[in-house]
């Protein structure tokens, strides 16, 4: 288990009735097998807390009549889930061919510079947060194809798809998320 998740605060101790009601609503979407609600509950959790700690995996497993390893094996598989806090704004630059042809490597470097990150620091997944600024405001990472190749290069900034990115516009784009 990673250091950040060994903190004494357990996310599961601060659940609100609203959160639990939302979780139960998601479980109700899977009348055949509660286990199907694993990903939806992990999304709900990460959207709420920013990352997934040990107590989260224990709580979700218990809610779905599973053992924690059934949840851990998902968190370690899917690149979307992380065990550490990421920046408030996450900039996910598409790395794959059409975007790369349109300059996505420069785009990623420029985003790193604009938020104050070392462009060489890499993100290797396995639950780690993407490289994040010291003030916790921004994370920048490469992701694989975002399915918008016709308007390359693109990035997903939080929930917003930004298309046809010009490197000259990146500083003002970053500014708009501060």
């Amino acid at each position: 288990m990673r250091a950040m998740t060994e903190s004494l605060t357990r996310q599961a101790d601060s659940l609100t009735p609203e959160f639990i009601a939302e979780a139960d609503e998601l479980v109700s979407h899977y009348p055949v097998s509660k286990r199907s609600a694993s990903l939806p509950l992990l999304h709900l959790w990460q959207n709420h807390f920013g990352f997934i700690d040990d107590s989260a995996m224990e709580w979700i497993a218990a809610r779905l009549d599973l053992t924690p390893v059934n949840i851990i094996e998902l968190v370690t598989f899917y690149p979307w889930f992380r065990r550490e806090q990421a920046g408030k704004t996450i900039i996910r630059v598409c790395r794959t061919l059409a975007c790369a042809l349109a300059g996505s490597y420069e785009v990623k470097d420029k985003f790193c510079q604009a938020v104050g990150l070392n462009p060489d620091c890499e993100h290797h997944g396995f639950g780690h947060a993407p490289p994040t600024t010291a003030d916790g405001k921004f994370s920048v990472e490469f992701v694989e194809c975002l399915a918008s190749c016709g308007s390359a290069p693109v990035a997903l900034i939080n929930d917003d798809l930004v298309e046809n990115i010009k490197t000259s516009e990146i500083p003002s784009l970053v500014e708009s998320y501060k």
């Binding site: 690149p79 790395r95 790369a100 399915a147």
Partner: protein, 446 residues
């Protein structure tokens, strides 16, 4: 959102994107109803389920997700009255590099998908369905979920749909950033809450042992959307738009080095590659010449400018004759591209001009596949990573004399030796780049 021309190109025929391109069209149900929405569902509910399947068969609708399997045949594997629960899962995990059509349908015309899905469900005795949307489309998931609630409120979903006694619930399920979940059996494992390792076929054909081990149809977003149009225009009219065996329209997604990248809805077989590049997409950038084309998503084998292909084509007298067909004269349909040794796949056409380095392009794709291999099968887990390491090293340090041979050897030992088609998907780029551009690898040898 960009990518759609305000007025259709003369080569286009907008069926799926017919409404989306109208000024003021929005994804809410009132707009959809004002544009004739849910009329096909009403019609379907008055038909016999097998009549609907026969219409889809007669329309020659092939899957638009990549494999190109005939949709009517897929549906007819489901035995209507076998007493088991059946499911339909819509594959909205669009993640094949080069493909970007479903994103726009989900965001801009979600009711088209829901209507098609309700018709498909009625035809195959399905009462519970999921739309699996990749989590990188967070807004699409919200829009589709809103649309489902709207449709339910109007009686198009839920219990006793339009008083016919037919019940259907649809839910949105979000992925979590893994390309492998676009593989249908992996998608089902993911939906069951498990690590999404693809299942081996046989025995785990979704139509037999699918979601929760029950008969299941997995269809791509665009495929399901076509269903309502087949009912609306009739299968003969629909099939006529395409070629024999490949009916209707197909959305071609064009990216890379052309003047006007974007997606274009074109009757199947309605353009040649040359027309698509030079006419529909406005040609290459000034002063550039064509170097390479990946015609059907990143897994499709690359084609080299200037290549010709021996294939049987219909002569002026209607007889089939063997002919040498130049690259730019290839018709963009399933059978022609197959005859050219590649595939129409998901319709993602990536164009590269003479400024591009083919080793660099292959390395980009190799890194993608190394990142996305699920790790279940050793040849793919190890091989995709090796291929990526070798091409990265060639770029960083120059090639060793036997690198090309080794790359080919690795790729040849993945394809055909894995549980799912990812093995082929990750080997075909390496195999085809080596076969088509050997000079680019040779000149890297130090």
């Amino acid at each position: 959102m960009v990518s759609l021309l305000p007025t259709p190109h003369p080569k286009e025929r907008r069926i799926i994107f017919g409404n989306i391109s109208k000024p003021g069209y929005s994804p809410d149900i009132e707009t959809y109803l004002a544009h004739g929405g849910y009329e096909s569902l009403k019609k379907a509910l008055g038909m016999k389920p097998n009549e609907i399947i026969d219409m889809v068969k007669a329309a020659n609708l092939r899957g638009r997700g990549g494999a190109g399997f005939p949709a009517g045949a897929k549906w007819s594997f489901i035995k209507y009255d076998d007493g088991k629960p059946h499911y339909i899962v819509v594959n909205a995990d669009e993640s094949e590099p080069g493909t970007f059509k479903d994103r726009y349908i989900l965001h801009q015309d979600p009711h088209q998908l829901i209507e098609g899905l309700a018709i498909a469900a009625f035809a195959t005795n399905v009462h519970l369905s999921y739309i699996y949307i990749r989590c990188e489309f967070p807004k699409a998931a919200k829009i589709v979920w809103e649309a489902i609630k709207e449709a339910k409120a109007k009686g198009f979903l839920g219990k006793n749909i339009l008083g016919t006694g037919f019940d259907l619930d649809i839910y949105v399920h979000q992925g979590a950033g893994a390309y492998i979940c676009g593989e249908e059996t992996s998608l089902l494992e993911s939906l069951e809450g498990k690590r999404p390792y693809p299942r081996i076929k046989p025995p785990y054909f979704p139509a037999v042992l699918g979601l929760y081990m029950k008969p299941t149809i997995v269809n791509n977003v665009e495929t399901i959307c076509h269903v309502k149009h087949i009912l609306a225009m009739g299968p003969e009219e629909y099939a006529k738009m395409g070629t024999p065996g490949d009916g209707g329209t197909r959305t071609m997604c064009v990216s890379g080095d052309v003047q006007r990248p974007g997606f274009y809805e074109i009757p199947c077989g309605g353009v040649t590659l040359g027309e698509l590049i030079n006419d529909v997409c406005g040609g290459l950038k000034p002063g550039r010449t064509l170097k390479a084309v990946i015609p059907g998503g990143s897994s499709a084998k690359v084609l080299r400018a200037g290549e010709t292909f021996k294939m049987k084509v219909k002569g002026p007298d209607g007889q089939m004759v063997e002919k040498e067909v130049p690259l730019l004269d290839l018709v963009m349909d399933a059978s022609t591209l197959q005859a050219a040794g590649t595939m129409v796949g998901s319709g993602g056409v990536m164009i590269m001009d003479d400024t591009r380095d083919m080793v660099w392009a292959l390395n980009n794709l190799n890194q993608f596949y190394a990142h996305e291999s699920c790790g279940q099968c050793t040849p793919c887990r190890e091989g995709s990573l090796w291929m990526s390491k070798v091409t990265t090293r060639i770029i960083d340090e120059g090639a060793r004399p036997d690198d090309a041979k080794n790359l080919k050897n690795i790729a040849d030992n993945i394809a055909g030796r894995t549980v799912c088609a990812f093995g082929e998907a990750c080997s075909w780029p390496t195999q085809s780049f080596l076969a088509k551009f050997p000079d680019e690898f040779e000149k890297r040898v130090k």
